[in-house]
């Protein structure tokens, strides 16, 4: 159902080279990320997994431009990033919607900042609100929505201003299992629809394998690339067919083992 066309050379390539991130100074100094080089192709769906404290969220916020890079570079389509930019959009785990704005106004925010005329704003916003199945909730405030609905608003508002790259920080982490699965499928559909690069942070191996084309597994203290697993799944079937297939189990095992080694090392230390 969500098989992508073989489109090559898409925009939205993220190139990370020799990235290092250090927090604090002197005795407080901690290295969050060290010597990390990795490339995400334009239009690719990549998940990043790793034990907690491996710096995966730090990595995401560095790509977003929210945090300063200590050394190394991050480039989007060969252009080194300098702070946040509208070519990248983040979906936060805690949604981070503007509570004083309605669903509709949250989704139009980025378009307002871009100076898009009102009528155009409305039609674009409506399109994305429909895409995440929130029609009828346009005039609600975030406090009136459930967690799953808030996150769909979070996704819609980020899609609405059309960044090339979606950066998702455990976006479904706070939701229960059935809702997670529904939103995962919706995200795959959207990804197939709108053609964006997605960097997806999660600690859930199954989620990573189910969603992404490649899984980057990170070590901790300091965080860096451990292994990268290509997930070459036939995703033409239903969720049940995919999840119960042998190849899915194999990929899951591979990623899990690699991740588990990492956690084990930690426990021995």
């Amino acid at each position: 159902m969500w098989v992508r066309q073989g489109d090559q050379l898409m925009d939205g390539r993220v190139t990370i080279s020799e990235l290092e991130k250090v927090y604090g100074e002197g005795a407080e100094r901690t290295k969050a990320i060290e010597n990390l080089s990795f490339e995400v192709e334009g239009g690719e769906f990549v998940s990043v997994v790793g034990p907690s404290g491996c710096g995966k969220s730090t990595l995401l916020y560095l790509i977003a431009g929210f945090l300063d890079i200590t050394s190394g570079t991050i480039a989007v389509d060969d252009e080194p990033i300098d702070g946040p930019g509208t070519d990248r959009g983040v979906v936060f785990q805690d949604y981070a919607l503007f509570p004083w704005r309605t669903v509709f106004e949250n989704v139009t925010y980025g378009l307002e900042e871009d100076g898009v005329p009102k009528e155009e704003r409305q039609s674009i916003a409506q399109k994305y609100i429909d895409l995440v199945d929130l029609d009828g909730f346009e005039d609600k405030y975030p406090k009136e929505l459930s967690g799953g609905m808030k996150q769909r608003v979070g996704i819609a508002r980020t899609l609405a201003y059309e960044p090339k790259i979606l950066l998702m920080d455990e976006p479904f982490g706070a939701l229960d299992q059935p809702l997670r699965e529904a939103l995962q499928d919706q995200l795959r559909d959207i990804w197939a629809d709108v053609g964006k690069t997605i960097v997806f942070i999660t600690h859930d191996v199954e989620e990573a394998v189910y969603l992404s084309e490649r899984v980057l597994i990170m070590t901790r203290h300091p965080g860096t690339k451990k292994t990268v697993t290509e997930v070459d799944l036939d995703r033409s079937g239903t969720r049940e067919e995919i999840v119960t297939s042998d190849e899915f189990a194999d990929y899951k095992n591979t990623v899990w083992k690699s991740l588990h080694e990492e956690t084990q090392t930690e426990v021995k230390l």
Binding site: Y61, A64, G65, F92, A96, F98, W100, E113, D114
Partner: protein
């Protein structure tokens, strides 16, 4: 509370009874007051019967004296509060957003806030006299602190994620203040106003009692000095109603502005 009955303008008896129930202890006290006064259990000078106070209140209202003094008190309190609100919000928000401003104002706020401000009334009389200006400046100085501190703290507590969200959607640093920081800090800023409002009345009232120049505080003190204790209580009732009225107004404004919380 049943708002729909209000909106339709219909008379709802159960609602009247509800209100009656919620204040019945107050009604008992008021009746007791009247009885004690009428029986002469407490000397008239200390506590006149409620009816005598109400009669005096009406008399003062009809001859314009009450309204004029209430106007003076309100004018001084609200102008002072308005000045403090503007300056307090500016200083508070800038302190939270700018290290240099914070470096300058933080010690001043730390020292200034705990000073019992009415202890400075004699100093203000010395510097600025006993007229309106002196009272307004005193109110502004006294109410500046809660406004500034609440504005600063609520601005500091604006979630980083909200600021990041705005930045990723293209909001420049200069627009950030209006687009995100101020709306996100608004609940705390309004709380500052709500704390400062009764304070503005207290400062004005006390200054009027000490320095005269009209106003409800002066009216009350004049009542004591001329042995007219009904006037003392009438002035108290007036300032009480003003306090309650302004509090209601601020609460209403708050619920309107913050309907999204």
């Amino acid at each position: 509370m049943d708002v729909t009955a209000d909106a339709e303008g219909g008379f709802d008896l159960s609602r009247v009874i509800d209100i009656g129930k919620s204040i019945y202890s107050l009604v008992i006290l008021l009746v007791l007051w009247e009885v004690v006064g009428q029986l002469g259990l407490i000397h008239y000078y200390f506590l006149p019967p409620l009816s005598a106070i109400i009669a005096r209140f009406i008399e003062l209202t009809l001859n314009g004296e009450m309204l004029y003094n209430a106007y003076l008190t309100l004018y001084r309190a609200l102008v002072g509060l308005a000045i403090a609100s503007v300056l307090g919000v500016i200083v508070g928000v800038l302190s939270a957003r700018n290290d240099l401003v914070d470096w300058f104002f933080d010690p001043i706020i730390k020292i200034g806030y705990p000073i019992p401000i009415i202890s400075l009334i004699p100093v203000f009389m010395l510097w600025f006299g006993i007229g309106d200006i002196s009272k307004i400046i005193m109110v502004a100085v006294g109410t500046f602190w809660p406004v500034a501190i609440n504005a600063r703290d609520s601005t500091r507590q604006v979630q980083t994620n909200l600021i990041w969200s705005a930045q990723m959607m293209g909001t420049s640093d200069r627009r950030l203040l209006w687009r995100v920081v101020m709306p996100a800090a608004l609940p705390g800023i309004l709380t500052g106003f709500q704390i400062a409002m009764p304070l503005s009345l207290i400062i004005t009232f006390v200054f009027e009692m000490v320095a005269g120049g009209g106003g409800l505080g002066a009216l009350e003190i004049a009542g004591v000095r001329s042995f007219q204790s009904e006037q003392v209580y009438a002035a108290i009732i007036a300032i009480m109603f003003i306090g309650i009225g302004l509090d209601r107004l601020l609460r209403f404004t708050r619920s309107r502005l913050l309907h999204w919380t």
